[in-house]
């Protein structure tokens, strides 16, 4: 397919990696680069990109899996809505997330109405087709996902659909990056910035953070050439003692992002303080429905109350999300915890770091 195979050119990948290795040799010390997008985590694992580089490059994964970063209190709202008898519409990777010994998939087995949707637009169509039912969408995702839900809320208004509500658990990437770079134990030397979040928000939201912490950062696409080239660009900045935001994914990411999508987010949502699994509470890192859209808020309308649940014993998902531990550091990885029997959310979603390692066969 066009613009796919070309960016998988193995020869080119190798040549760029060689250049990156020269830079790694010049740097000498260990270099830690974090990718903050679950799709990058998957691509790095699937194409075996770690194996291309000298040993002093440590590629770590950050909080790029939306399901994984959603705290238990957030999941509890979705479970409550289902148990109240609402019809829950959710992306497939939520179904097997373990929560207090339950999962949405188990609840569905018990007869609760839980539907997997590919797009939030499917939920709108279902709500229109079945006006007697009350639908609740699980709003999980980053800046790539929240504008879609914003457009659905506006579309509901236009079409006078009132039996579709939202649990807004959306999270914002730049405040999480700030929190990670601030952490004293992580020592991140460079950031591979998410391609599709950046497609929406553009380059500017990263500039202040990169200046503040002096960490090179490169926005990149999802093919091997993209990822390896972004690593080379970060290393080059390190050698030249620079720290700026560069954009490798120029074929898709415009400097100003997607202004229409940004307007949609701003029209429907407002930033609020929010909790992340593994990172704790981060100021203005979540999105809540604005007051004028309160009638779409499932939490208000149905009086849902967040419930805490303890993390599964031995699960390091929280530390995996912040990059301080690897899946292979977890005693349960590949033994008790597998995609068929996930103990923590990092093994459930295909974007989760533990699942990405598992499918790539990392022992």
């Amino acid at each position: 397919m066009k613009f796919l195979e070309e960016y998988r050119d193995g020869e080119l990948v190798k040549r760029i990696a060689n250049r990156a290795n020269e830079l790694l040799g010049r740097i000498g010390r260990e270099v830690k680069i974090m990718e903050v997008c679950g799709t990058h985590t998957m691509a790095i694992a699937r194409h075996g990109l770690r194996g291309l580089f000298r040993k002093n490059l440590d590629l770590i994964s950050g909080p790029g899996c939306p399901v994984c970063v959603t705290p238990n209190s957030g999941f509890s709202l979705v479970f409550q809505a289902a148990e109240m008898g609402k019809t829950v519409a959710t992306f497939g990777d939520m179904m097997r997330v373990p929560f207090n010994g339950k999962s949405l998939s188990k609840l569905r087995g018990e007869g609760f109405d839980i539907r997997v949707v590919y797009s939030p637009y499917d939920a709108l169509k279902m709500a229109e087709d079945e006006p007697e039912k009350e639908f609740v969408m699980a709003g999980i995702g980053f800046e790539t996902t929240s504008p879609l839900f914003a457009s659905i809320i506006l579309e509901c208004r236009r079409r006078r659909v009132s039996n579709l509500k939202l649990i807004s658990l959306f999270r914002l990437i730049p405040p999480a990056l700030d929190a990670l770079l601030k952490a004293e134990d992580l020592h991140i030397d460079g950031l591979i910035l998410p391609g599709h979040v950046s497609t929406i928000i553009g380059v500017k939201p990263y500039v202040d953070i990169v200046e503040k912490y002096k960490v090179p950062a490169v926005i990149t696409g999802f093919e091997p050439v993209d990822i390896v080239e972004s690593i080379r660009m970060i290393l080059k900045q390190l050698v030249e003692k620079k720290s700026m935001v560069e954009n490798e994914y120029v074929r898709t990411v415009r400097p100003q992002g997607n202004p229409k999508a940004i307007r949609l987010i701003q029209e429907v949502f407002k930033p609020v303080d929010a909790e992340w699994r593994g990172l704790g509470e981060i100021a203005e890192s979540g999105l809540a429905l604005k007051d004028e859209f309160k009638d779409f808020d499932a939490v208000e309308e149905y009086g849902l109350k967040p419930v805490e649940a303890s993390e599964p014993a031995g699960c390091l998902c929280g530390q995996v999300i912040r990059g301080s531990k690897k899946p292979t550091d977890c005693k349960l990885y590949r033994r008790a915890c597998m995609p068929d029997n996930p103990i923590g959310p990092c093994m459930v979603s295909s974007e989760g770091t533990c699942a990405a390692y598992y499918y790539a066969g990392v022992e």
């Binding site: 397919m1 080119l12 790539t144 879609l148 599709h196 497609t199 949609l264």
Partner: protein
């Protein structure tokens, strides 16, 4: 389909398009974009086109990389 695979727009009807991903066709919402035309390559996330791929830039960059990392 959220893996960033660009699909080719085959038909546009109002707020929706039919997009082909290497032969697999899907209905895609266009609410996030203005001026999508037949033949454009779009990046799709959860059933919505989020950006039009700039073909010229895509090829230019590949050529540059191939040039720079030749030997």
């Amino acid at each position: 389909m959220c893996l960033g695979i660009p699909g080719r727009v085959e038909e546009v009807e109002g707020a929706e398009a039919t997009v082909s991903f290497g032969g697999i066709r899907r209905r895609v919402r266009l609410d996030l974009l203005d001026n999508v035309s037949i033949g454009d390559y779009v990046v799709v996330h959860a059933g919505f086109a989020i950006e039009v791929l700039d073909e010229e830039t895509a090829l230019e960059m590949l050529n540059t990389l191939r040039e720079v990392f030749r030997e």
